[in-house]
Symmetry: C2
C-alpha cells in the first residue's frame, strides 16, 4: 500500500519531509462514516448501537444537527452509576456543544492528531468547515485514534513502494 499523499519528494531536507507529508494527508481521504443517534434515546440503546456498529463513540444529533458526542467512557460511567440505563437519555451522558472538539474536513490528519492529544479525546466529528461551529452543524465524518494508527501503518509501508 502506498500512502495517499499524492506525490514524491526529491532533494528536500528530511527535517521538512515528515511535516510536509503528514500535513498533506487530508482528513477527507481518511475519515470514516459517522455513526449517529438521536439525543432522546436511552444510554442502553446508545450502548447497543455502539456494539452493533463496533465504534468507540457516537455522534448525538437533534434532528440532523450535532448536539454532542458520547464515548464508551461516558456510557461506562453511567452504567456503573446505579441509575436506570433504560431511562437515562444519552444526552445526559454525552459531551455537549460547545465543548465538543470538532475538526474541518479540509484540515490535515496531523491537525486531527494534535487536537485529540491536546483535548484528550479518542475521536473527533468531522464538519464541513471549521467556521460553521457555533451554528447548526451537520457532521460529515469521523476520525479517531484508529484512523491515525491506520495512517501510521500506511506510512511505514512506504518502504514497499
Amino acid at each position: 500500500a502506498r500512502p495517499r499523499v499524492g506525490y514524491f519528494y526529491s532533494g528536500k531536507k528530511n527535517a521538512d519531509l515528515f511535516g510536509d507529508v503528514l500535513s498533506r494527508m487530508r482528513i477527507s481521504d481518511y475519515q470514516s462514516v459517522p455513526i449517529a443517534v438521536q439525543e432522546t434515546i436511552s444510554v442502553y440503546d446508545a450502548t447497543v448501537t455502539m456494539f452493533m456498529e463496533d465504534v468507540g463513540s457516537l455522534i448525538v444529533l437533534k434532528e440532523r444537527y450535532l448536539q454532542g458526542v458520547v464515548s464508551r467512557k461516558d456510557l461506562l460511567k453511567v452504567a456503573i452509576g446505579g441509575g436506570n440505563i433504560h431511562e437515562i437519555p444519552v444526552n445526559l451522558a454525552m459531551t455537549r456543544l460547545p465543548n465538543v472538539v470538532t475538526v474541518s474536513s479540509e484540515a490535515s490528519l496531523y491537525d486531527a492528531a494534535v487536537l485529540m492529544m491536546r483535548h484528550q479525546v479518542d475521536s473527533l466529528p468531522v464538519i464541513p468547515t471549521k467556521s460553521a461551529a457555533g451554528t447548526n452543524v451537520e457532521v460529515v465524518g469521523r476520525v479517531s485514534k484508529t484512523t491515525i494508527t491506520r495512517a501510521f501503518v500506511e506510512l511505514g509501508q512506504y518502504r514497499e513502494v
Copy 2:
C-alpha cells in the same frame, strides 16, 4: 520536539525513509506504565480503577503474571448485561491468554500499530521478549492507539527541527 529516532538521514530514497524511521522507533522509548489489577477483583472495582488511572484498558494479573486484558468495551458489555457488577470478577470479562495480543519491548512502534490494526485492539501489553509468551509472563509496559497518535504528532513536528 524532535522524534526520538536518534539520527538523520541523507541521500536515502524517500520511499525507504518512512519505513526506516518508523521501524526504528522502539517501543521501549514510547511505552507507558501498565496499570494492572488482580484477576479476582470485581468488574465494578476494575472500572473504578480504570477511571482513577484514566486508561482505556487494564492488565489482569495472577500474582505477578499476565492472565488477560480488559478494555472499556469489555466492562461496558458486562455493565449493561444486567448482572451484579459488584460480584462478577474481572476475569469473566477480560480477554484471556492465549488470546491476548502482546508485543515485545524490542519491537518497533510500527510493529505495534500493525498488530493493533490486524487484531482490532486498542492497546497491547508489552512483554520482555516475544518468545516468553506461553510461559509465565511479566508485563513491562503498555502501548495503545494513543501512543501511536502521540508518535504521529511527533513525526509531524519534525519540520520544526
